[in-house]
């Protein structure tokens, strides 16, 4: 079985690809339109530099070769949502060619990545005519085309999930934008392939492909022949159906787009510094920290910030301690934890105390859990000893309580004394909260 995907991703620019209309805002139909994205006679396109830059970032992420010069093409087809009845896209010189994406250990070859404009949206009405909203017309898209290297519907889904995580990370795409990802899926069980067009979302891609596997297998088992065709995926019935034979031949009759000129993209690409992709980071974790591939992916896919914290902790303590802590107590409490610089530093100093032998591993784990969850039971157990020390200090300086009522700064005397006495066993946040709590109790 061979599966190849054409993945369309909307690029997160603020203005459209060839005009300055905003990409986000008013949801009312036809509010974000201008003569360019409506295809009015006399209007001319001009390219958004950010769209080109994001395309180049993705091309680099996919390890594509980037041609010296690129230009756009007109792809001509007639449809009511296509304002000019041609789409400005890239035919001869896409921003990236011949890349590769590592899905774990398996390379998925990338044929090309090119940029193009999104058409508008179309709605059918009961009387048979249509209603068109051009707000989407001209939103920049990157289309990533893979070779048929994917070998199952499940793998296709895994590939998409992983690819999207990397894309999001590389170009700062909003995490909830799965719906805006559309796929054309090519699949062949036997020799002939079918294309399922315009499938939205990861789940639907897997469903559409699974349906095709079953359908094509049945036909082949019965001694039939697969017909090469374009099919549609019906999201509600979860089946693919044959697209009616085109009455009009699809001959796009590409020409070079003469309104925009050419772009020296190899030079532009050399000036772009991509962030390390999650995939690259996983490989580095294996090499630098001797992690298993699985453990590395586990940490990174949980949260890129967790991976970053691991590196900080490893630098502050040592690799083995960091691995142990992060894969244990830190990972298990990560969900629901809102990491801040302060809380992460507290965890690091706690682990340091453990390393120095000042607290036991059980105590260390408990205190880390307390910092991360703020769970009362945990925190109370942790702070029992601290409460005793603070109580003793208050007993020795009873005047503080009256002073505190007048000015809260009076607590600083006790905080300073306790810090000195405990020498870093407790985080400053813990001490501050314990002192305040106990003073308030005695007021």
């Amino acid at each position: 079985m061979k599966i190849g995907l054409e993945v369309h991703v909307q690029l997160p620019t603020r203005s459209k690809m060839f005009c300055s209309c905003p990409t986000e805002g008013d949801a009312e139909p036809n509010t974000r339109i201008c003569p360019v994205c409506m295809g009015f006679p006399g209007s001319k396109p001009s390219l958004n530099g950010e769209a080109l830059k994001l395309g180049l970032k993705l091309a680099k992420m996919l390890e594509c070769s980037i041609p010296d010069t690129t230009w756009f093409s007109r792809k001509i087809y007639f449809y009511p949502d296509l304002a000019k009845n041609f789409q400005i896209t890239q035919q001869e010189t896409p921003v990236g060619l011949g890349g590769v994406y590592m899905l774990g250990d398996k390379p998925i070859r990338i044929t090309r990545i090119h940029l193009e404009e999104d058409p508008g949206k179309i709605k059918r009405t009961s009387d048979g005519s249509s209603l068109i909203d051009y707000n989407r017309s001209g939103i920049p898209l990157a289309e990533i085309v893979t070779e048929p290297d994917i070998s199952s519907p499940a793998e296709a889904r895994k590939f998409l999930a992983s690819l999207l995580a990397d894309i999001r990370h590389t170009i700062d795409l909003e995490p909830d934008s799965e719906r805006s990802v559309r796929c054309d899926c090519n699949i062949s069980v036997g020799k002939e392939r079918c294309e399922v067009k315009n499938v939205t979302g990861l789940k639907n891609v897997e469903r559409a492909l699974t349906f095709e596997v079953v359908r094509q297998t049945k036909i082949l088992r019965a001694g039939g022949k697969i017909e090469r065709e374009t099919r549609h995926f019906d999201e509600e019935r979860k089946v693919t159906t044959s697209a009616r034979k085109k009455e009009f031949e699809a001959d796009y009759g590409y020409i070079n787009e003469p309104d925009l000129g050419t772009y020296h993209i190899a030079r532009m690409a050399s000036e772009i510094e991509n962030k390390e992709t999650p995939m690259e980071m996983a490989v580095r974790f294996e090499n630098d920290y001797g992690m298993t591939a699985k453990a590395a992916r586990q940490i990174i896919s949980t949260d890129i910030r967790l991976a970053g914290f691991f590196e900080d902790l490893a630098a502050a303590t040592d690799t083995e301690t960091a691995k142990c802590l992060v894969s244990g107590v830190v990972s298990s409490n990560w969900k629901g934890f809102e990491p801040t610089k302060g809380s992460l530093d507290d965890i690091i100093s706690m682990v340091r105390r453990f390393k120095e032998g000042k607290i036991t591993d059980v105590e260390c784990n408990m205190r880390v859990r307390c910092i991360m969850t703020g769970d009362e039971d945990t925190c109370r157990i942790c702070s029992e000893d601290l409460d005793k020390i603070v109580g003793r200090a208050l007993d020795e300086n009873p005047s503080v309580i009256a002073d505190y009522a007048a000015n809260e700064k009076a607590a600083n005397r006790i905080i300073g004394a306790v810090m000195k006495e405990t020498g870093g066993t407790y985080s400053s946040a813990e001490i501050v909260s314990a002192v305040r709590r106990l003073i308030t109790e005695r007021l």
């Binding site: 620019t13 603020r14 203005s15 300055s20 209309c21 905003p22 990409t23 009312e28 139909p29 036809n30 509010t31 974000r32 339109i33 201008c34 003569p35 409506m38 009015f40 001009s46 390219l47 958004n48 530099g49 950010e50 769209a51 080109l52 230009w71 007639f78 449809y79 009511p80 949502d81 179309i122 709605k123 059918r124 048979g128 005519s129 249509s130 209603l131 068109i132 909203d133 051009y134 009009f248 031949e249 001959d251 009759g253 070079n256 787009e257 003469p258 925009l260 000129g261 050419t262 772009y263 020296h264």
Partner: protein, 90 residues
Amino acid sequence: MDRETVIRVARSAHLELTEEEIELYRRDLEEILDYFRVLDDAPSSDDLLVNPVEVTDVLRSDEPHMEIPADTLLEDVNTYERYVRGPRVQ
């Protein structure tokens, strides 16, 4: 240039031709394409493939901006509840 090609090309360009038009354009295109044959042995080069002068690296900054209000643009458009009315798609 035969009748069928004229019809096929016209169809892809969304033009429906009368019998007279088919014959007219068939004859004209045959004559014109015959004349275009001189291009077969013309010299050629790949210097500029888009414009006759160099137009390079002209980019716009990513600043949203609407010069003409959308409502003004829709004034002469056949609309229904702000949607542009179009023909049947299914």
